[in-house]
């Protein structure tokens, strides 16, 4: 739902009849907007995104992150907000096939992008091998980091297949095929925090799904 659709409501009174607002201040709800320097209304922009295979055309506040666009505007709440600062990885999605923190990505900067969130991993009722492996290995508890772990793992396995070395990749291996050891998985998944402490299950789950 584009935010431009939301009508501006009139000012409300508190139950005891006092005004909501400090003395003498109208809320401007009558429609006329008087602007004070530094107080700027949102700038709107049109974006087009292909999300989990479906085309979306939206008018959005340019400050809207991809994460908030998914969660607040499209009701795709699979991607989670754990920190909104790119520190936890719970919001990880795939942008044009590469994993990224959706909280750090302004939607307007990704016009035309192909987005995959956790809702797009399964093929209908058939779960993605990583989803099956996470259930089998109990690679989550509360489940809040899980969508980010899964999208991150999908992106990570592609990076390995593409021969991207990590900090623990042996020097020689950087030239050829990278062996997906537990140490590689741990290192490459270090941007996805799990406070329930399921790491010891996440690593074998990813290893199994990749095998």
């Amino acid at each position: 739902m584009p935010i431009t659709d939301i009508p501006r409501p009139l000012g409300k009174k508190l139950q005891d009849g006092r005004s909501f607002f400090p003395s003498g201040v109208a809320d401007g709800g009558a429609g006329r907007v008087r602007l004070v320097p530094g107080i700027e209304p949102p700038i709107l922009a049109d974006v087009r995104l292909r999300i989990n295979g479906t085309e979306h055309q939206l008018t959005i506040d340019t400050r809207t992150s991809l994460l908030d666009l998914l969660r607040e505007h499209l009701d795709l709440t699979g991607a989670k907000k754990g920190c909104d600062h790119g520190q936890c990885g719970a919001c990880t999605i795939l942008i044009d096939g590469r994993r990224a923190n959706a909280c750090l990505a302004l939607a307007v900067a990704h016009n035309g992008a192909e987005i995959v969130s956790v809702e797009g991993l399964a093929d209908g009722d058939i779960l993605h091998p990583l989803q099956r492996a996470f259930i089998e290995h109990d690679a989550f508890q509360c489940g809040y980091c899980t969508p980010g772990q899964l999208c991150s793992a999908v992106g990570m396995l592609d990076e390995v297949r593409d021969g991207w070395p990590s900090a623990v990749t042996p020097l020689l291996a950087a030239e050829g095929e990278i062996e997906l050891t537990a140490a590689e998985i741990r290192e490459r998944m270090n941007g996805n925090l799990c406070r329930c402490g399921a790491y010891a299950n996440i690593v074998p789950a990813i290893g199994d799904a990749a095998a």
Partner: protein, 702 residues
Amino acid sequence: MSVTVTGAIGAAVDRVEGRAKVTGQAKYAYEYRQDAVAYAAILQSTVAKGAVRTVEAASVLELPGVHAVLWHDNAPRLHEVSDGELEVLQSDRVSYRGQIIGAVIADSYETARQAERLVRIEYAQEPHDVLLRADHPKLYTPEKVNPNYPAVTEDGDFDSAFAAAEVKIDCTYETPAEHNNPMEPHATLAIWEENGVTLFDSNQGVVNVKTTVARAFGLEPDQVRVVSPHVGGGFGSKGTPRPHVILAVMAAQALGRPVKLAVTRQQMFALTGYRTPTIQRMRLGADRDGRLTAIGHEAILQSSTVREFAEQAALPSRMMYEAPHRRTTHRLARLDVPTPSWMRAPGETPGMYALESAMDELAIAGGIDPIELRVRNDPEVDPETGHRFSSRNLVACLREGAERFGWNSRDSRPGVHREGRWLIGTGVAASTYPARRQPSSARASYEPDHGYKIQIAAADIGTGARTALTQIAADALEVPVEEVEVQIGDSSFPEAFLAGGSMGNSSWGSAVVKACRELRARMAEEGSEVPLWVEVDTKAEAAAASAEPLAKHGFGAQFIEARVDVDTGEVHVPRALGVFAVGRIINPKTARSQFIGGMTMGIGMALHEESLIDLEFGDYLNHDLAGYHVPTNPDIEQLEAIWLEEDDPHVNPMGAKGIGEIGIVGTAAAVANAVHHATGIRVRDLPIRPDKLVGAVPRGNR
């Protein structure tokens, strides 16, 4: 009364909501769609002590889409609130930096956050006092410590016995403030309707939230409904309603529109509780054979000026080991800080870090193996009450772990085992956690076309409770798990205790078993052609269980290998093993996750976690996940948890002790003990940061 095992209990059943969680379909509090919802952003105090003079909101209200700025001068008055932290916007007082002093409500999240930055606030600032010290002049002895224990205990003559002890240690251990940091930030969606308010809220107990909100807003309990089927972790921080819940309900009431409010990660460091820092003096005295004669555990903790919260840190020293002369004390300083709250195994976690580090130091002082020292002091009965233990298998855990970990071939000399740049050591510590239960109620129903359904206002914050209760119900009904649906996380279901104190499954499972039994009895009489339902509570059973003259606790042993880089002081934990004796395990798959999750958090406590107080501004400086380090994937290498068969019919009908917290207890001590074994350096203040080791590694080893 015990459960007849037909096979569900003890089976490694996959988490029943697993599919919903891996497909992104499981909805958490902030994710419920609501028409015409408004977004609230919290205004936090930027001073640690004083009063709010003015909130200048005029220009902010010019911003299109901003509807209101709430503050103490225009906020609705609350009715009775039992917790000072929940008296949101009821006065101009500021009691800590980061306290809620207002809210901005707007049409969009972006505008709410923009407006929040634009509100100008003036304070009458007063000097603050935020640092806990062992010589703080305000230290006092509280009347009770949590949940309701005496603050001080004296048995025998501690001073004389300690003075006369042949082997003794006198050491002080410090733990920093630590923040729970569940992955899902606390969030509430509040929707007022004609007859009351509905909350979609992230919490560990819907009943608690319902009761508190009803009281605060002068409503009847049944005018408040709280819905929380999925909760993204809590670790204690969602055990009590936090102030933002009140603020969200207030904002929705004032605006006449549904309001969504999520606490930001940064705000969580002030608003959603944390573990108090502790300063603990341990004095242990023993004879030459390693038999303890004196145990002294004196804990210093903090609370806020808003409310007394007295963490029971010295509690484990009352029941862990035999000693005729014992003293345990707690003293608090009420500082200008946020009120501490529960964090995974409050009391036991910091307390057992101190006690189990001290036991390691005593073992070394007496030239005794640390496992043998614990075995020699394992009590026959609870030293505090004289009651028998319902079951106590600490020694078996230590022995089993020693065997599996290769403890018995260990060279006990510290600082002698080196591989390349790594100094290597191993450490052990004991774990314990009480096995308690509380009354709960539950409804069991049968419909010929829909099968069995259980409803209970329980919570699954990631514990696996929904799955475990399904298994418990299936066995009590003597049907396969597939035929049972368990519904939880809704205050319209029969009242139940919260997910806390490792009492969830014990309390809820007991009610579920009773409900299922009665339903079966009804079906035996009335057949299965008609719909039937029963509702039960376990007040009588829970009271009887509490009155039994038995000491009920789970036990465990933690084994850690630590590697310390001789140049950088960096510590790795390549191997961790936990062995637990906690009654019957309902689901080995989800139980193992609880244990390894606790151990992982314990490794974080040992090596990373520390909330640093900023003396100048008076708040926690490193208030985000970049500054506050929780364990990440590479921090955890080989980590295993196992358990022993243990039959304990006294704890509840399932014979299962709580397992959500024991995994963290003792882990940090085991790491510190292993670091000492690796380096010869005893770090007595957590976390064991590289800077505490880097200059101290002996020259010959660098």
